[in-house]
Amino acid sequence: MSAAEVHLKTLMLAALAGDKAAYRGLLGALGEQLRRYYRRRLPPSDANVEDLVQETLIAIHSKRGTYDTALPFTPWLYAIARYKLLDHLRRVRLRPTVPLEEAGDLFAGDESEAASAKLDLEKLLAALPASSQAIIRQVKLQGLSTADVAARTGKSEVAVRVGLHRGLKALSEKLRERQDRADR
């Protein structure tokens, strides 16, 4: 059993028995451990490390009753840390965010031309079924390979290619319709 396990478990047991000083010491030590844990697992520039440390400390606090004192402490700690890490990564994948310091790049320069083209494309895409929309977005807009998309969505690569082909066909039909209407 590691020295950290013995130390942290002693503090945890004292805290659960009502020792506030031990609890403060425990949370301080856990803050350090968690910071190291998340730094090692997130990209060096990631600004979320401290948020994750805090979120995990709050989780440890509110879920402290789920620690079974018959078991070692560090597996409990790292199971929560890992859960919060995976939860964070899942959220980031769903809704990519940019650190505030770099957000300026997003707005720099006159991009109204590109923006209105993008808006047009969005309108057209919105008329397609959700599955082909997603494939076109990933392959044509984000530049993923069909193999990547297949791996992400769990579909076969052939299915992704067929979906892409159908989606693009539907898209060009929509464009032609619109052209016809404009010509009239």
Binding site: D19, R24, L27, G31, V53, Q54, R64, T66, P75, W76
Partner: protein, 213 residues
Amino acid sequence: MQTADLIDRLSSEDPIAPRSGAVVPLAGLLVGGCIVSFLVMWAWLGFRPDLAQAVATSAFWMKFAYTLTLAALCFWLVERLGRPGAGIARPQRMILLPLAVIFVLAIAQIATAPAALRMHLLMGASSHVCPWRIVALSLPIFVAAALGLRRLAPTRLVAAGAAAGLLAGAMGAWIYAFHCDESAAPFIALWYTLGIATTGAIGGASGKWLLRW
């Protein structure tokens, strides 16, 4: 907020936590879910008319023993999955025990029955509705189990959802046994287990978003 301030704030609260964790609320919620499910069974299906005679038969208690043993072991599994980092190997292995017993009983009954009766032992008269009714009666209990599990700290959401589903399924099957007048072990082994497994699958599929905390 600075992390140091957060630690100040958290450690100003009373750190005492009950040793039982949130297991007592989980059990309480399950009792509530069972009461709801029981009332649904009563209003929707009714008790089996021969209940008074049935309690004297071993088949009635076989259903009780199978479903309640399974439920108790699933409760253990759910409780372990609600505690981060706790091992689940033992409850997982133990769950195979009631399954093994009911299947051995089922095979023994089929093997010793006259050939003409075998199909009836397996299919009974209500196999087409049995699993679905068990799933339906399990749903209130599953909701209770999920609510209780969220008060713990499940870190393996699919497994925790499946365990909660199996627990709800086993308790739902127990409640269904008050209505169901099938008494053959092969029927129980196949159709009751199928209903329980279906609820487990529903739990596993919904765990990822239902149990997030």
